[in-house]
């Protein structure tokens, strides 16, 4: 089984128990492709919206005779205008994500990929269009897109820390950023502001290893980033714990604040926790953004 196929299989597993994710669409503009999201106005679609009296210009075949036969007036049956939402996903595939503190835990990247692809599958099943931010993979619908996304998720990046990609964002689309957000903060900030400027709203999911929350180290230690570009030596690692945890809380706080400012949602997921819970949270977060 290839990596992509394996990833997809596990994602299908994760996605299977959940109902189809119907992300609420707020805006119609910019996206005209038909989907199954009622736009709360009459238009092209499958679901019944309302009967309205026949107006001039309506063709005779548009008259709903069954309804019209109950009275003297003639009615036309209107359907709800349905469009599809676009969701842009940015998944941090940098080296820092390829970390697992012990053998029983998956790497952060692996967990993030599963979550991202599961979300994609749910969205595609819900009729949404899913794509990657940036120009690599524009949003499309259909099963084939899931294959393409799975393929894209298998490419590791060389950089030590990932920088969010906010280019190519469709206006008023939805976005999902997944990373550990351990790298420089300003690019994250910039990317979010840029997305928010385009009316894009979405979810930030910070994926962390339990060791990154607990800092269970002591003694003389040289800490190295996974890519090897950064290193820090300390003589008493246990004395750094409090200050490190302070900085981590600060970083989370900043992300939360940023999310609130831009109307996004922020969540943290630990690789030691359940994938299902994280997917549920993601679904709620994406669905709850009215």
């Amino acid at each position: 089984m290839s990596l992509a196929a394996d990833l997809r299989a596990r994602s299908e597993d994760a996605a299977a128990p959940l109902p189809a994710l119907l992300a609420e669409a707020e805006h119609l503009a910019g996206t005209v492709l038909l989907g199954e999201h009622g736009r709360r106005r009459a238009g092209l679609g499958d679901d019944f919206w309302q009967y309205r009296p026949v107006r001039s210009g309506d063709e005779a075949r548009m008259i709903d005779w069954r309804r019209s036969a109950r009275g003297d007036d003639q009615f036309v049956r209107e359907r709800e205008w349905q469009v599809a939402q676009s969701v842009m996903i940015w998944l941090d595939q940098a080296a820092s994500m390829r970390f697992a503190s012990n053998n029983n835990l998956p790497e952060k990247a692996a967990r993030a990929r599963v979550l991202a692809l599961a979300t994609s599958i749910l969205l595609v099943r819900g009729g949404e269009r899913v794509g990657l931010s940036g120009s690599g993979l524009p949003p499309r619908r259909g099963e084939a897109q899931i294959l393409r996304m799975a393929d894209a998720f298998t490419r590791d990046e060389e950089a030590d820390y990932g920088i969010p990609e906010a280019r190519g964002m469709l206006p008023h689309a939805r976005a999902l950023f997944m990373s550990d957000f351990m790298g420089d903060f300003p690019p994250v900030e910039a990317a979010l502001y840029k997305a928010a400027d385009r009316g894009v709203r979405g979810v930030i999911l910070q994926v962390l290893d339990p060791a990154e929350e607990a800092f269970p180290f002591s003694g003389r230690t040289i800490f190295e980033s996974v890519g090897g570009s950064l290193r820090h030596e300390t003589l008493k690692a246990n004395e750094l714990k409090d200050r490190y945890l302070g900085r981590l809380a600060e970083r989370k706080d900043a992300l939360d604040r940023l999310a609130r400012t831009t109307g996004w949602q922020f969540g943290t997921h630990h690789t030691g926790d359940s994938t299902q819970a994280a997917l549920l949270w993601l679904w709620h977060a994406l669905a709850g953004q009215a």
Binding site: E212, I222, F223, E239
Partner: protein, 914 residues
Amino acid sequence: MFALGPIGFAAPWLLLGLVALPILWLILRAVPPAPIRRRFPGVALLLGLTDEESTSDRTPWWLLLLRVLAVAAVIIGLAGPVLNPQDRVSGSGPVLILADSGWAGAPQFPRRAERMRALIEEAGQAGRPLATLRITDPATIAFQSADVALTRLPGLVPEPWSPGPDEVARAIEEISAAGAFDTYWMSDGLDYEGREQILSALRDAGDVRIFQTPISAQGLVPATYADGVLTLRARRSEGSGAETMQVQGFGRDPVGIERILVAEHFAFAEGELQSELALSLPAELRARITRFELAGGRSAGAVALTDDSLQRREIALFAGREDREGLTLLSPLHYLQQALEPTAEILDGALLDVIPANPDVIVLADVATLAPAEEAAIVEWVEAGGMLLRFAGPRVAASDLSRTEEDTLMPVRLRAGGRSVGGAMSWGEPKTLAPFAEESPFHGLAVPDDVTVTSQVMAQPDPTLADRVVAQLTDGTPLVTRKRMGGGQIVLFHVTANADWSTLPLSGLFVQMLERLSVTASGARPTAEELEGTVWKPIQVLDGFGDLRDAGTMAGVPGPDLVSGTLGRALPPGLYEGESRRLARNVMDDGTLLVPAGWPDDVRVDGLDTAEETPLQGWLLALALALLSVDIVASLGLSGRLVRAALVGVALALPGLPEAQGSDDFALQASAGVVLAHVLTGDERLDRMAEQGLAGLSDVLFFRTSVEPDAPMGVDLETDELSLFPFLYWPISADQPIPSDIAYAKLNDYLRTGGLILFDTRDADVSGFGGGSPESRRLQRIAAPLDIPPLELLPDDHVLTRTFYLLQDFPGRHNSRDVWVEAAPQDAELIEGMPFRNLNDNVTPVIIGGNDWAAAWATDENGVPLYPVGRGYAGERQREVAYRFGVNLIMHVLTGNYKSDQVHVPALLDRLGQ
């Protein structure tokens, strides 16, 4: 070698490295423990965080101490410490290794040899030429290289004698001829004649160093027997301390196996050099003892061989005339009894009663006639090795005994009447004895002048006479004649056994002659004079360690030498055989005293067992390694890595949870409902087909009857419990393995307790059950050990034909009528008015057929038949009948003869009056 107390160092300068230890301490103290490298994405958040304290964790003092100790152990270890270092050989020039090599050194010989080897090797390392000399067996001193001398080492074994005067003289000669050399003298610790001279000769040649063990030498003096008591004496060379020594008497038991017959203890008191032990042993036991040994002595001196001296001969005396009661001095046996009583057991009794007791000697004094039975018994006894000693007398002289024909029990023919000389009524002087001829057993005995013969019986001149005369008078007439017969001999004294005819019985010569003839064996050792002229052949000789060896072809020893000669190469101690008795020559005798050797003060005397040189290097380096191992654990612990290592260790050590659930699961699955089972044959395809077949049958049962089987199971005969299954389907393949004995036991148990096995050879029974097809041959082999009752072809009225469906055929994929079941009882008869016989009251234990039922029953999980049966509709009909057979079969299995009992219903109803 530099030495500190008992410890010396091979490379003492290395010890200077210990000075560096304090410096090492300081350095180790300054250097923090090595850091751990950790991959950690959160490092970005750590950047810029500085340690609050600039100093790191110091290495704790005890870890430092551990490391310093380890280094110190390495330094000391490399300095080559040696416990009890031995001084190396100093000096140069040739070395003589001189060994006493007497018997006294035998117990310590291995240690002495080890010491000699060490000395030779040391001298060899110093390049000094070596020679060896044994005083007990001196040879020319030839200095050679050490490796040659080493090859001679095994030859320096102790000899079973002490250095004698000849050997000492020869040794001194050799020593003075050898020039200048240093000497290592391996002393046995016993003094001997000439030792001082050897020492002075050696000191003239060079330095002398003595090696001597302080262990006391022990010796056992030969046992003496007097007045029924066996006296043993043991001696030792050092009198310090009380001591007990065990002495063991060896001999052959009645079976002929040599074993310890007696074991007693000598008790030496403080300062005593000799201990005596009196043993009172039964004559039988005493005669069996061949040697005494000091237990653990391991030397020739600790062995005392016994010879005939401990044995008392059994002699039966018979006289022809016992009528002159009270006149003991005239009794023909009086002098014999006097001569024999001190040294022999005299048997009395009738001749025929005595012979079975197997006396050594039978004396017939003046017995002329013997009953034929007595004569025959004596002949037999003589030929078996007995000695018949006859004396002449008036009766013999008057009888016709051996007159014309030589009597079997007489050595010569006799002339009538005998003769008298020198008496009152005759001419001539009484005759005296002539000196004994060389070949005579009496050779060497002095002939006293006062022995005279006045009467005698005369031998007829015969061609054999000259050979048979062993003693004669001065006029040449035979006095004693002897004839060998078989293994024994017959000796005739031509005079009486009392003083009637001669003065011989009154003389000491008479006793000596009897001794020579082995009629008596005196307890005292014979003197040299007594043995004059005899040659003794060694039978067994002792080696230095006290082991007896066969003498082989060693040369004989003259009798006087044997008694009084000095032991040496020509006369090793051992057991010697003479004319007809054995004499032991032992290392110790009454006069042998064990005197410890004393040495002048200016001679260096070393023990053999100086403290062993023990190199300590290995131990110290091992200690260093151990300390470093502790250091590893401690360092891991300090740096926080130990927990993980320990976890790994614990994880490895944790045993997997036992999986005891397997058989329970099997039993639960098999007993939850009715389960049809098939025997696993090892043929995967066949097993699958059987399972599918039973699955199909189970479905049919489920649909059509109240039997609702669970999924069928395969049964491994070797491991699985059979009693859980009412029914086993056993397809036979040609190459199926034969079950083990245990499996057969289970199968028989299963059959006896109501199980049913359906054997299916799947060959359509093409050849009948005569063993034609490979499958049926296999079936015969498999079924041979099974407890199967007599079989018959399934009869028309068998209960299988009607347990559920009414059937007359039992097809599977094949349609053969031949299906075999347990035979009906002989007395089963058709009852009037009944459609069926009253048959078995049991389920048949086996059904054997070849219709390949499983193939006909087999369906996949959707209920679609898997194998074709017949053609078209007829084929489907056949499959249907096959299912019906299956249903009937399972019904039969589960309900037994229930349907058979139905035949009684009309009769029951009739009785009930309905």
